[in-house]
C-alpha cells in the first residue's frame, strides 16, 4: 500500500508543478547546428536567474552541469529553460552530455 501511495504522490507532485518562474532575469543559450554553444561564455549576475535553452540543432542535446545542479534533455528543435541559483561569483563549466566536446562556461558576476 505504502509503495502505491508513494507512486500516486509522485504523479501528483509532477502534475502540480505549474509555471511559476516569471519575473527572473533571463538569458538565452542556443545549441547551434554546427555543434557549438551560442554564447560559449554566458555572463550572468549572482543570485537567481533563468536561462532559456534553445536546441537549434537536428540532434537531441543534454544541458548538463553538476556545479550548477542541472541536467536537462532537449529533443531536436525543443525550447525549454532552467532556473539556477548561484550566489558565489566565479566560472562554472557546463556541457552537452550527448556531445561531450561541446563545452561552455557560465560566468557569474558579483551583484552590485
Amino acid at each position: 500500500m505504502r509503495a502505491r501511495a508513494l507512486l500516486a504522490a509522485l504523479l501528483l507532485a509532477g502534475a502540480a508543478g505549474a509555471a511559476r518562474a516569471a519575473d527572473l532575469p533571463t538569458f538565452t543559450l542556443t545549441f547551434k547546428p554546427d555543434g557549438t554553444f551560442e554564447p560559449a561564455r554566458l555572463e550572468v549576475p549572482a543570485g537567481r536567474f533563468k536561462i532559456a535553452l534553445i536546441n537549434d540543432s537536428s540532434e537531441p542535446v543534454e544541458f548538463e552541469s553538476i556545479p550548477l545542479r542541472k541536467e536537462k534533455v532537449l529533443g531536436p528543435g525543443v525550447k525549454s529553460f532552467v532556473v539556477i541559483t548561484i550566489s558565489r561569483p566565479g566560472e562554472y563549466p557546463f556541457f552537452d552530455d550527448f556531445h561531450q566536446q561541446v563545452r561552455g562556461t557560465l560566468v557569474v558576476k558579483p551583484q552590485e
Partner: protein, 282 residues
C-alpha cells in the same frame, strides 16, 4: 558511433545495476523467486514511463510542464533513495527468515507489500535513465545524415549489449565470490547509489527554490577532484560527490549516512538474535 555506444551503456548501467543486484538477491532463494514477476513487472512499467517521459523531452507531448518535470525528477530520485534503503534493510532482515515467514502465512501481506515497493523501485530506476536513452537514440538515429541510421541503431544495440554484459558479469560475480561477500559489496553499492540519488533529488529541490542552500558553496574542491569529468563524475553519479556542495546537501547526506548506519546496526542485532536458535546454513 562510439559515442552512441558509450552513452547507451552509461545510461543503462545504473538501471541494470539496480535490477541486476535485486535479481541476484531474489534468485538466491526459492522464496525470493516469488518476487521475480514483480521485478519484471517493474522493468515493464519503467519502460512505459520512460517512453512517456521521452515524449515530453522531445516536445511531442506536454503532459508535464518544465517545472513539473523538475518536481517529477526530484520525486523520482528521492523515492528511489528511500526505496533502496528500505530494500537493503528488508533484505538484511528477512533474507534468512523469508522462508519461515512465507510458510507462517501470517506475515504474507508484509512480504507482498515489499514486492510492490520492489516494483516501484525498479520502475523508477529504469524510467530515470531510460527516457534519456530513448530521446538520445531516437534523435540521433532520425538526424543521421552522414552516417547510415542503421549503423547508429546498431551502435545503440551494441551499447545495450555491453550493458547486458555488465549485468551478466554481476551475476557471475555473485557466483565467484561467497554469497555473504557479494551481499556486502552490492549492499554498499546500492547505499552509495541511494546517497547519489538523494543529492540529485536535493539539487532539483534547490533549483525549484523550495530548499534553501544555507551556504553555497560550503567549499570548492574542484582543484582536487572535478565533478564534471573522469573519476569525479563517476563519484558524482554513483556516490553523490560535489565539488561545490551547498551546505543543505552536505547536512542531508551526513544525516542520510547516520540514519543508514543506525538502521543497519539495529537490523544486524535483530538478525543475530533471530539466527541464534537455528545456525545459518548459507
Amino acid at each position: 558511433m562510439e559515442q552512441v555506444l558509450f552513452i547507451v551503456w552509461r545510461e543503462s548501467v545504473e538501471a541494470l545495476l539496480v535490477v541486476g543486484i535485486l535479481y541476484s538477491w531474489l534468485r538466491a532463494t526459492p522464496e525470493g523467486r516469488r518476487g521475480l514477476p514483480y521485478l519484471w513487472g517493474g522493468v515493464a512499467a519503467g519502460l512505459g514511463l520512460a517512453l512517456l517521459l521521452a515524449l515530453v523531452l522531445l516536445g511531442v507531448s506536454s503532459w508535464l510542464s518544465d517545472e513539473g518535470q523538475e518536481w517529477f525528477q526530484a520525486g523520482m530520485a528521492l523515492a528511489a533513495c528511500a526505496l533502496v534503503v528500505q530494500m537493503v534493510v528488508w533484505m538484511k532482515r528477512h533474507g534468512r527468515t523469508l522462508k519461515r515467514e512465507l510458510e507462517g502465512g501470517a506475515r504474507q501481506s508484509v512480504v507482498h507489500d515489499n514486492w510492490w515497493g520492489l516494483l516501484v523501485l525498479v520502475a523508477i530506476a529504469v524510467a530515470r535513465e531510460g527516457s534519456e536513452t530513448v530521446v538520445f537514440l531516437y534523435g540521433t538515429v532520425s538526424a543521421a545524415q552522414a552516417q547510415s541510421p542503421w549503423l547508429l541503431a546498431l551502435a545503440g544495440v551494441a551499447g545495450f549489449a555491453v550493458a547486458l554484459l555488465t549485468f551478466w558479469l554481476l551475476q557471475l560475480g555473485g557466483r565467484l565470490i561467497t554469497w555473504r561477500r557479494f551481499f556486502r559489496l552490492t549492499e554498499a553499492l546500492l547505499l552509495l547509489l541511494a546517497g547519489a540519488l538523494l543529492v540529485g533529488g536535493l539539487d532539483h529541490l534547490i533549483s525549484l527554490g523550495v530548499l534553501p542552500t544555507l551556504v553555497d558553496p560550503v567549499w570548492d574542491s574542484s582543484w582536487l577532484l572535478d565533478d564534471s569529468i573522469g573519476v569525479g563524475k563517476v563519484l558524482a553519479d554513483f556516490a553523490g560527490y560535489r565539488a561545490y556542495p551547498a551546505l543543505t546537501s552536505v547536512l542531508c547526506l551526513a544525516a542520510y549516512w547516520l540514519i543508514v548506519w543506525a538502521l543497519l546496526r539495529r537490523t544486524d542485532r535483530q538478525a543475530a538474535a533471530a539466527a541464534q536458535p537455528r545456525p545459518a546454513t548459507h
